[in-house]
């Protein structure tokens, strides 16, 4: 304020009042997000957790609102365990592949690309996120279908036999890419890759180039520098990215519904139970599974020192 004697408007007095009471300002700023997170988001989670402890009466088919572990016992049937294991295995495979693909790209973007090329890389990584998820998944269906581009290209390159060999693999193979787990994996990988690239880029940006030079200066070959300096320092970024790719794969129900086998993933099972079957407790219990898996995942990551570099 230029002149202290000037008559202050109501807005000025409000500003000054808030400036002098930083706690009040903090409360006003944090109120809405806390209300949202605390009541709407956490409330929904608690309601979900509560639902999972109810159960469906075998004869009437009605939900019994009494606390019980019956639904969780039912979760342990072979069919349900198969769903959980296949979904978790898919999430792990997608996460691993995303990390392996994202790291070199992120390293190139941070260490070697010019500003212009880097901007283009960012655009390339982000661009798919601007268009509808459904459109992209359906276009992958066209790409991977038996009459699609991949089959056509493989035949033109006289590599039809290789494609057949891949599809003949047990468990993950199938009649065509669009109706096999390989297809589901490819589409998951495509859709979630940006969520791995961006945190790894952010982590690598924070590694000063002089550390790589220092490692080389002390006698380390590039491979040793990668394992001992680059990867440990970028690890929090990889873990952050893996939290995205892992949890997003665990919860998705659209991609495996469009591309892949008829065996359901967790998300699809949730939809079936709460929609068609009307078994809300079972749907809730199945939803708790990814939450539990993620909790275990984060605890293990923490034990492995993933967050020490933060």
């Amino acid at each position: 304020m230029s002149a202290p004697a000037a008559p202050s408007s109501a807005l000025d007095r409000l500003s000054t009042g808030l400036y002098l009471r930083p706690r009040l300002l903090l409360g006003l700023l944090l109120g809405p997000p806390l209300l949202w997170l605390g009541v709407v988001y956490l409330g929904a989670l608690v309601a979900l957790l509560l639902q999972s402890f109810f159960y469906v009466d075998q004869f009437s088919g009605l939900v019994v609102r009494r606390l019980s572990l019956a639904t969780y016992w039912e979760l342990l049937t072979l069919a349900n365990l198969d769903i959980v294991i296949r979904t978790t295995a898919m999430a792990a495979a997608v996460t691993l592949a995303a990390a392996v693909l994202a790291f070199p790209l992120a390293f190139y973007m941070v260490r070697h690309a010019s500003l212009r090329v880097k901007a283009l890389c960012y655009l390339g990584v982000m661009l798919p996120l601007w268009s509808s998820y459904l459109v992209r998944v359906y276009s992958w269906k066209l790409i991977l279908a038996r009459e699609g581009i991949v089959t056509w290209l493989a035949e033109r390159l006289r590599l039809g036999w290789a494609l057949e060999a891949v599809l003949a693999l047990p468990v993950i193979g199938g009649p065509s890419l669009s109706t096999s787990d390989i297809g589901t994996f490819l589409v998951f990988l495509y859709v979630w890759l940006p969520f791995m690239v961006l945190p790894v880029v952010a982590a690598l940006e924070r590694v000063p180039p002089s550390l790589l030079e220092a490692s080389a200066d002390l006698g380390a070959r590039p491979s040793a520098t990668f394992w001992r300096v680059v990867l440990p320092l970028a690890w929090p970024g990889v873990v952050a990215g893996s939290v995205f790719t892992f949890s997003l794969t665990l919860g998705d129900y659209i991609i495996p519904g469009i591309i892949g086998t008829s065996h359901p993933f967790i998300g699809q099972a949730v939809v079936q139970h709460q929609g068609t079957a009307g078994n809300i407790p079972m749907a809730a219990a199945l939803t708790v599974v990814p939450v539990a898996i993620m909790a275990v995942y984060l605890v293990v990551a923490r034990r492995l020192g993933a967050f020490e570099g933060l």
Binding site: P208, S210, E213, A214, A216
Partner: protein
């Protein structure tokens, strides 16, 4: 500036020094980054066991010289030789040199001990020996007992010492230091200058020290090269560089100097030979006190301004007939001193202090 030991009486010859072969030799080295010529045909030699400083303003090419020795850069033209061996195509990890980086470049995810051991671990030295040597190296830089800390828990001065220990533990042929004291405050910097110099004598390793601080270069090095715009302006011992600057740039960059151009030189000395003259070599006298030594050059003028420096005062004297000279006199407590602005003075100096310029 404090007195420094004469370079000749300094470092003992290091063990295993190959007689005659310089530790580092630059032979016509050129390096350009796009349009910018960082080095433009630079040649010099660094003797085994010497404390050698590369002095210059930013952009002079001194850090490029260091990076060429370390192997982070390759020369476009010419050769960089370490102990007589051409280093062309040899990567940093195959060179027997180590670097203390300007930002220290300590690995933040490792403890101090693991940082110091890093070079030995890479070379697969067994853990017990590696631990013992790391403790020795930390003791050498006066950080014994801090091995379990992370670099983030140390002060700037301590990090600097860790970087030093991490480099020295490998017993390199040449230790490269890139403005290692630049981030420290003045008191700590002066203390580290003394310690670094003592450490270099103790370990006998060739030190190549990059700095833009002329005081640091003069007080620490046995020899130094002054660089400017990618060229070596002068190489010599600190007193040679200070007392007999070869170029106007060296005279102006190393300490403060008067550069006397041809016109003024003719008026002052009778010949148009340009020269430099250090301000502390010029005496001031009261014009009323009678003529000075007739064989020495003299001039008359008026004190235009004074700059009080504590131990000394710097005077700008406007000469009769144009031109000005800087004069520095000690504040030794003589009556009527320091001089004040506006006073008329007579200046005199010994002809031998005039350093002719080419």
């Amino acid at each position: 500036m404090t007195h420094h030991a004469s370079p000749a009486g300094g470092s003992p010859p290091p063990a295993g020094a190959l007689s005659g072969v310089p530790a580092v030799r630059f032979a016509g080295v050129g390096r350009a980054f796009g349009e910018v010529r960082a080095l433009d045909g630079v040649s010099f030699e660094i003797e085994e066991g010497q404390f050698f400083a590369l002095l210059g303003p930013s952009g002079s090419g001194k850090t490029t010289c260091l990076r060429l020795i370390a192997g982070f850069e390759q020369p476009d033209t010419g050769q960089v030789l370490i102990r007589g061996e051409d280093m062309k195509g040899v990567p940093p990890y195959d060179r027997d040199v180590n670097t203390v980086f300007q930002d220290y470049a300590l690995f933040p995810h490792m403890t101090v001990a693991r940082n110091v051991e890093y070079g030995l671990m890479i070379r697969r030295v067994p853990p017990p020996e590696r631990r013992r040597r790391a403790e020795e190296a930390l003791a050498l830089v006066k950080l014994a007992g801090l091995g379990a800390r992370k670099p983030g828990q140390l002060s700037g001065g301590q990090r600097q010492r860790v970087a030093l220990a991490r480099a020295l533990i490998n017993r390199p042929r040449v230790l490269l230091l890139d403005e290692p004291l630049g981030a420290l405050d003045l008191k700590l910097r002066e203390q580290m200058q003394v310690e670094l110099k003592a450490l270099q004598r103790q370990v006998g390793i060739t030190f190549v020290y990059v700095t833009h601080d002329q005081g640091e270069a003069l007080s620490m090095s046995d020899r130094l090269a002054v660089l400017n715009h990618g060229l070596v302006e002068q190489i010599g011992s600190p007193d040679e560089i200070y007392e007999r600057p070869a170029t106007a740039f060296v005279a102006g960059f190393v300490g403060v100097s008067n550069v006397v151009e041809a016109d003024l030189a003719r008026r002052l000395t009778g010949t148009p030979q340009p020269f430099t003259l250090r301000p502390e070599k010029i005496r001031l006298a009261d014009p009323a006190s009678g003529p000075g030594d007739a064989r020495e050059p003299t001039a008359a003028g008026v004190i235009e301004s004074t700059l009080y420096l504590g131990a000394a005062t710097r005077y700008t004297v406007a000469l009769d007939g144009g031109g000005q000279l800087l004069v520095v006199r000690q504040n030794a407590g003589d009556p009527g001193r320091p001089w004040t602005a506006g006073q008329r003075v007579r200046l005199g100096w010994a002809r031998q202090h005039q350093q002719p310029l080419g």
